[in-house]
Symmetry: C2
Subunit: 194 residues, 2 copies
């Protein structure tokens, strides 16, 4: 029987789901064709149809991570400094689901740093994230809600603050419950007020 395009897409989706479950359980360090095949109940031979090499698998996993993060439901951000706060809060591991995604992001930094192409892709992803923050900062400055200063620098500082908070909260969730993460971010945001 001829395979339809729909079959192919469904199988590819199943493979993606299996990649996600492996990432969730073992991080990028545990992401191998063999682990995904086992998760899928398939042979590695079938899997190489979708991911000819380990690098293809990692690149797919990074795309999947970006897509899942973009699709994560979040409150519609208001304007001004509230939009900035909402965007930064959405980065933090305040829920179990967000912590899973954060944990996979952090784990992606190892393979990404080890490969110049993947590293450039990640640099572009974080660059886009900073650009978005920069625009929010500039808009909040126009409304007089954020102090003067280069919006790109303020954005880079804010991105630094949340990324580092993510790392600390992942390793020590007891020391960084959601309440404390929000309080620390709010302390930080107060330093940006005029």
């Amino acid at each position: 029987m001829a395979r339809t395009k729909g079959d192919h897409d469904a199988r590819r989706r199943e493979a993606s789901e299996a990649v996600w479950r492996v990432l969730d359980a073992h991080g990028f360090g545990g992401l191998t064709l063999r682990a995904v095949a086992a998760e899928l109940g398939a042979t590695t031979g079938l899997l190489t149809h979708y991911f000819p090499t380990k690098r293809d698998l990692v690149a797919h996993a990074l795309d999947l991570l970006e897509q899942r993060t973009a699709d994560r439901p979040r409150e519609v951000a208001a304007d001004g400094s509230d939009a900035l706060r909402g965007t930064l809060l959405a980065v933090l591991p305040l829920t179990t689901e967000a912590a899973t995604s954060n944990r996979i992001w952090v784990s992606s930094w190892d393979p990404a740093l080890a490969d110049p192409g993947l590293s450039r892709d990640h640099a572009r992803r974080y660059g886009r994230s900073r650009d978005k923050l920069r625009d929010l900062v500039a808009a909040a400055q126009e409304r007089g809600e954020i102090r003067a200063g280069d919006p790109a620098d303020i954005a880079a500082g804010a991105e630094s603050f949340v990324l580092g908070l993510v790392v600390q909260a992942l390793f020590d969730p007891a020391a960084f419950p959601a309440r404390r993460q929000v309080a620390l971010l709010d302390d930080y945001l107060r330093t940006l007020s005029p």
Copy 2:
């Protein structure tokens, strides 16, 4: 011929050097007994004498990383807010050597998050780092150089800021030359003044 303790220590040091070179080149994702054996020009059989399992190898690599970081030459910190600034600057990838060490630290987060025991060890390491910062913050507050506030929270915020700056600078060294990293940290530290 009987092997001496000195022989054993020398071989162990050689194995450690090989582990470091593998980490430098490939990160923790590329750290395998086979890769270290190849780097050492030895058999994996010899290597299992030092590292019976992959986990032993990763745990040794994390200890090595901590030791190398502690041994990194740095300026003797002054007291007060200068000591805080010096300690935070020492975390940043301001030199090629520091960037190598940072890159390996960041890459260690993947295997550490995937293993509860290694994760606890990392949580303790970052906890000690925050305790040190907290004491520096408290001392600077007593001198009137840092604003009022819970020194543990100020320390957690400062640690967040530098860790996140490390990640961004590693992915995008062109956007974060040493000069800009220092300027961003100084902007941040100004927000802590009374």
